[in-house]
Symmetry: none
Subunit: 161 residues, 2 copies
């Protein structure tokens, strides 16, 4: 298991702490996180993106292609690095979400963790429900357009890559 899959919903306690779902923690440990996980506001959704070293390298990769001191790089740097928070994981597998991040995702008392392969997202449960509902509708439209295709069995235990 080296990918984030499934969704889980956990509570935020009085101190702003929230448990990372155990399966996600297992992935993070495999991925390696030096000091914490990387977390930043999703660019196109009211949610937070998070992951371990692999995600960090992806960000670096984006910037690596741009020349130093170009305007483009500066802006990307600000948007990416500037928004990234490194969140420490405590001994019980919990993180603390800083206020600005919570605000972006509209997080109140609960967080829905959504696995997305090599990263995961954190949503306010209500907002995620809404998004999921829309996603389902789109899938249905697709199926109509494509003429019904037999559902591909998800079953994979075989990890790809």
């Amino acid at each position: 298991m080296d990918r984030f899959v499934s969704t889980f919903t956990n509570k935020i306690d009085a101190k702003g702490r929230v448990s990372i779902p155990a399966p996600f923690r297992a992935v993070l440990e495999r991925d390696g996180y030096a000091g914490g996980i990387y977390c930043y506001p999703s660019l196109d959704a009211p949610a937070l993106d998070a992951g371990g070293e692999r995600l960090a390298q992806k960000i670096d990769g984006l910037l690596a292609g741009l020349p130093d001191y170009s305007d483009e790089r500066d802006e990307l740097s600000v948007a990416l690095y500037g928004d990234v928070q490194v969140l420490a994981i405590d001994g019980d597998g919990r993180i603390v979400l800083p206020q600005p991040l919570r605000a972006h995702a509209g997080l109140q008392s609960e967080v829905t963790f959504v696995g997305l392969g090599d990263k995961f997202q954190m949503w306010a449960p209500e907002r995620f429900d809404e998004r999921r509902r829309v996603a389902r509708e789109k899938v249905q439209e697709h199926r109509k357009l494509l003429g019904r295709q037999p559902p591909r069995s998800e079953g994979g235990d075989g990890e790809g890559s």
Copy 2:
């Protein structure tokens, strides 16, 4: 961790002192700073750029690429070296920002420290919010242009960061 990541906002006290965020200090100590950090007005933003030895070497590298006695080099030299200040860090991890630097960034009572990899910037919080907003919009445009990023297969555990 040898890179500046995340953002922090600290206060400027009555004497003009401001604490460098502890994580940044840790990076600086690893990077090495002989007597202080290098700080100068950002060329294209109402902010201050700062860093340790690595940043100084990068500036040297930039200038080295330009022919001696070229107009470009002269201008860059003046623009960069001319305004560079070496700021001492006191026993409590604080620096004092000289008036000209504060003026350039419009710093009043608070400073937002923004990690940008091998340097960091200091912004007036309000101005940084604005800049971040713009930067995020640009990134969204980028993503549209690139089409959605193909899910990069796990590859590349390459370098540690």
